[in-house]
Subunit: 322 residues, 2 copies
Amino acid sequence: MPRALGLNTDHFSDRLYGAIGATGTPGCVGLDPVYERLPGAVVNAKPEFGPTWAMLLFSRGVMEAVAGLIPAIKFQSACFERYGAMGLATLHQLVSVAKSMGFVVILDAKRGDIGVTAEHYAAASFDPTTEPEAGKGRVGGADALTVSGYLGMDTVEPFLKPRGDGLARGVFVLVRTSNPGSDEVQSLRLEDGRTVAQMMADHVAEIGHASRGLCGLSDVGAVVGATKSGEGAALRARMPDQYFLVPGYGAQGGTIEDIRPMMRRAGRGGSEGPMSPAAEAGVLVTASRSVIYAFEQDEAHWQAAVRSAAERFAGELRGLLE
Amino acid sequence: MPRALGLNTDHFSDRLYGAIGATGTPGCVGLDPVYERLPGAVVNAKPEFGPTWAMLLFSRGVMEAVAGLIPAIKFQSACFERYGAMGLATLHQLVSVAKSMGFVVILDAKRGDIGVTAEHYAAASFDPTTEPEAGKGRVGGADALTVSGYLGMDTVEPFLKPRGDGLARGVFVLVRTSNPGSDEVQSLRLEDGRTVAQMMADHVAEIGHASRGLCGLSDVGAVVGATKSGEGAALRARMPDQYFLVPGYGAQGGTIEDIRPMMRRAGRGGSEGPMSPAAEAGVLVTASRSVIYAFEQDEAHWQAAVRSAAERFAGELRGLLE
């Protein structure tokens, strides 16, 4: 169990640290629901309400199945956006439900634009409103957002300002992604010897320095794919205080041994601060399809199948810490 | 007037070519409406309907004011997303209105994600649906989308597949942006001597080669900010067949002389193909705040003020072609 001394929950990083510490599991379930893959029991429950209602029911069911076991949920915005306004309303409702269930919520939307536009995206992600009266009817915004840094760090900073509720949110900047084509950009070498990904990592470490929580980790994290573990240790050396959001585990082929080199060795820890080995490791590993579609052999008991898959995933992650 | 021979309107590039040719103006008005800046006559028309209704009324009014003069409209997605589901519904409605008025519509959302997620974003941008029945109630998707290439070109390709209506859409890949902080990423030099922006330009030219329309330009364009004109000629040399979407004109400080080096010198032209000097130049210059907020000295006649600003803008662009 973690000592909860010295966390400042105004910081995203401290909220994430506390949540990982409470479960002992540095993991995240990715909700990327695709209507065509949902279990029959969900699709047939109220077919007249259409795909978004089924996605709502399914996503809520997954969260119930993994609650207490997994500290964070990552929503893939695109899966909801493709259903237009109803899709976005569904996403906002689910973010609100996830928050009320105690999950740390990451919105995976990979936004990035110049200053004033970044402020609009921050408002869209962190302060969603229902209409017609702006500012009323809040349904609860995400704790963190994935962002692109190609436009430079002045486009990331607007996301770091504390919101109206006094809480700073977090970002995970795209550094090294898990898709095959990423090498042709991110692996190229600069004239100073760094790869493009390492250059991005240095920017992330620099802008993240000022927004570290009491846990020693920063509100500015990085996306580092599990399938790129050969580069994980070098990226960790450049980003000692960053949470790594690690997609690509499970269905995309990443394994637990791919995660190990990305782990943080020297946390602040010690007697003066918080200490949870799981949270101190500085990774948040995401499993999506391997958990949420685990029911495909047993549709009748889909929530139990999802729970079992989440238990396996959590067990593997705890193995990291031994 | 353009000769309209030899355009294949299944291609985005040919549709854009035709629209620029018909107006003689390689320009685009950017709709980035911010509720707090809208004219009193709009805000006070139906205050009980809230911000998104005012944005709808205003945006429609801007389009009426510039119709026939400017061939394309670029919507800033973030301005609408910040109003949640109603904001997104408003955006989709406006895209539909813009299409019915004959504009080429660009959705400026700077999306970018790995393969299957990119397909969801393509559906969200190009095939919007209203609920509850997916696939029904189409309100008309955008003709093109701005995208990030940091994740590699395999994340751009899903946007290029022709949609259900048989038409290919376009993308504008972020190459060189107009914000001050962009230099710290895009200007860095690779060990082979190219800048990061030039490397991205080469990728864009390569994947764009196969999707050229009959006009000779590609469905894969590039975003190149007007404030980076010192680099414009070198980027044009690397991307001879790309439309450059050029933001930063007007309010952000870019001038007509900044655009000139980005223009395409050698179009296909000649007797066998289409020829419009305005369309052949391969630039689509965007003005946003300098046109849509031109009413601020004269709120009572806001549409006339917007029209005058658009006429000035169009006149400046025609000066490019002399």
